[in-house]
Amino acid sequence: MTITVNMTVNGKDVSAEVEPRTLLVQLLRENLGLTGTHVGCDTSQCGACVVHVDGESVKSCTLLAAQCDGGQVTTIEGLADGDTLHPMQEAFREHHGLQCGFCTPGMVMSAIDLVNRNGAPSETEIREWLEGNICRCTGYHNIVKAIDAGAKSMGG
């Protein structure tokens, strides 16, 4: 049995026939080909799958596509304006906030939710916010620097 889900993904209206047990991340990656959203753990711990639903960061591996029916979804692919990176993406590049890049889409989506709530987060606030985002490579230091810089450029 399938159900129809309708949502806006990166500004485009999308309609898909899915099984009720389909996760949002499966819809994004498998139906829509938006493979920028990664699956690291599939057990709700690592944050590689973080996207925004109705403006808030969520783990798309721990959400049914059906729960997002009628919602607005933004993924890493929806951030750049043509060839111009989003200020948070640009900050990650500038400050070497990534090595292998696997965690990066989730880090960037999570960081933007932080800055939307708190335009000038302190280093401690950034580190605490990253509780749900795990990086195997960087040791976090440059990620924190990138988010600090990204927050400043998002602010102006």
């Binding site: 049995m1 159900i3 099984e19 009720p20 047990r21 996760l23 599939d42 057990t43 709700s44 711990q45 944050g47 973080v50 808030e56 960061s57 969520v58 783990k59 721990t62 959400l63 049914l64 059906a66 729960q67 029916d69 999570s110 939710d113 932080l114 916010w129 509780e131 749900g132 985002n133």
Partner: protein, 264 residues
Amino acid sequence: MYEFEYHRPSSVAEAAELVSKADDGALMAGGQTLIPTLKQRLASPSDVVDLGAIAELKGIRVEGDAVVVGAGTPHAAVAGSAEVQGAIPALAALAEAIGDPQVRNKGTLGGSIANNDPAADYPAAVLGLGATVTTNQREIAADDFFTGMFETALTDGEIVTAVRFPKPQRAGYAKFPNPASRYAIVGVLVAETSGGVRVAVTGAGSCVFRASEMEQALAGSFSAEALDGISVPADDLNNDLHASAAYRAHLVSVMAKRAVAAAQ
């Protein structure tokens, strides 16, 4: 995940009807526990009834001397609420320390207490503040709600609609978090309420419980020193790779003192 049928009702009455008609229906709030459980095939409901679109389950309001939090209110909304921060700062701080931001955006008060994980934070607030749980059928006092490990007084298909937290004179919460999940290895909520001092301990045992000897000591003097030399017996406490029962017993005393010191 096994297959199931999915429903998204817009009222509590409709949800109750859907879950009662299903062969083996499961209620879902944010899915932050249910979806991982389904993925691991630890549960195989015939039907999932999603409470996420029910507006009447969401929101926070102050009613006289109490803060009423809708069962479907996410942790982030409780943590960020000016009403909760003003009336019961310990409750806002407890919600802010649950898991991570993404879990706090989806996970709910109702889901947390209905699940009654032995290491969850909210059960300590509900029991420690002497709250009342409202369901679609009745009101249940906190002292009667949590009945055992992952067990509550809720009957099959009964839906938690809200929790009424009476404003305490002061309350504090301190937890020693598991460094990976942030669940409580031990969490203690202490509150000076109109009905006396209450001390609720989560994470340490198979279910949240009250520490009566500590309550008596704090009723004499609400100070960290009043707890000197008082500990809970280790016999029935959890013993696992995160902490031994003896260490948990020690942590209960330390967290209780910190909670008293933080109380406001």
